[in-house]
């Protein structure tokens, strides 16, 4: 099976698809690193919900968690956002996904044989 590395940042796009998580990022962007507690207070949300959103953001590499005593301080990680700020990234992902499909097709042997004669044969039966 293809060993194509996952395109950079699919989790980033998923993480950003949620308005609350975008608001959390915005808060970290505007006000700097903060403990989960003050984020929860600011968003009038239950701590566990905020923690869950922060977990998704952390797994996407968008925030960094640091322990300070009994608190966990969250900080915005800008690096993955480069891809999002790059408006062509979704097109690039399109091509990388398609190329993964091309690799699978080639590995299936469907394009083997009859090389050098580009005359199209009859349609393949099914997939």
């Amino acid at each position: 099976m293809p060993r194509t590395p996952a395109p950079a940042g699919p989790d980033v796009f998923g993480a950003l698809a949620n308005p609350t998580r975008r608001d959390l990022l915005q808060a970290l962007l505007e006000r700097g690193p903060q403990p989960a507690q003050s984020l929860a207070a600011r968003f009038d949300m239950a701590r566990p919900s905020v923690s869950e959103h922060l977990r998704v953001l952390r797994e996407a590499g968008l925030v960094e968690e640091r322990r300070a005593g009994r608190q966990r301080i969250y900080r915005l990680e800008a690096e993955p956002l480069r891809e999002v700020a790059d408006w062509l990234a979704p097109y690039e992902r399109f091509w990388r996904d398609r190329l993964a499909g091309l690799r699978e097709l080639l590995d299936s042997g469907a394009a083997d044989g009859a090389v050098g004669s580009p005359a199209p044969g009859p349609p393949e039966a099914g997939r």
Partner: protein, 149 residues
């Protein structure tokens, strides 16, 4: 990844090694049935000047009806294929280069001619939802530019 000095980039470059000879890769790129299996349904023919379409998923919000209108611009068997690629407000070219490498092929893709000043072409960002494209994105750009400086 992006040369930010000159503003937004206008091309995509992808470089992939495939463990199959150029002849097989060429078939996958130029035989409509094979092409349909990894890219999109099409009526391609490897003839310069041939006009054809790819059928994609429409994106009405982006002014894209799902039809990519293409024209074959250059064909060098097992070496190079260039097509004009127009869909929605895109008017771009896609070039495939096949370079033999060991037992396989290095496949180089250049998708060029994106217009960063065309808001319709930025449709992909809309999928991220309202609110994102406005203030926050602008601020992030500032931040990233500051970090890159």
């Amino acid at each position: 990844m992006t040369g930010r000095d000159g503003g937004a980039r206008t091309a995509i470059h992808v470089d992939e090694f495939l463990g199959h000879p150029p002849a097989a890769v060429w078939r996958a790129l130029t035989e409509p049935d094979l092409l349909a299996r990894w890219l999109m349904p099409n009526d391609f023919a490897p003839v310069v000047g041939h006009e054809f379409t790819f059928s994609a998923v429409p994106l009405p919000d982006a002014g894209f009806d799902g039809v990519v209108r293409c024209r074959v611009l250059a064909v060098e068997p097992a070496r190079l294929l260039r097509i004009g690629w127009r869909g929605g407000s895109l008017d771009t070219t896609v070039t495939w280069r096949l370079v033999p490498e060991g037992q396989g092929t290095r496949l180089l893709l250049d998708h060029e001619g994106f217009d960063p000043d065309d808001p319709l072409q930025q449709h992909a960002l809309r999928g991220l939802g309202g609110g994102w494209r406005g203030r926050l994105l602008a601020r992030l750009r500032e931040l990233l530019d500051a970090l890159a400086a």
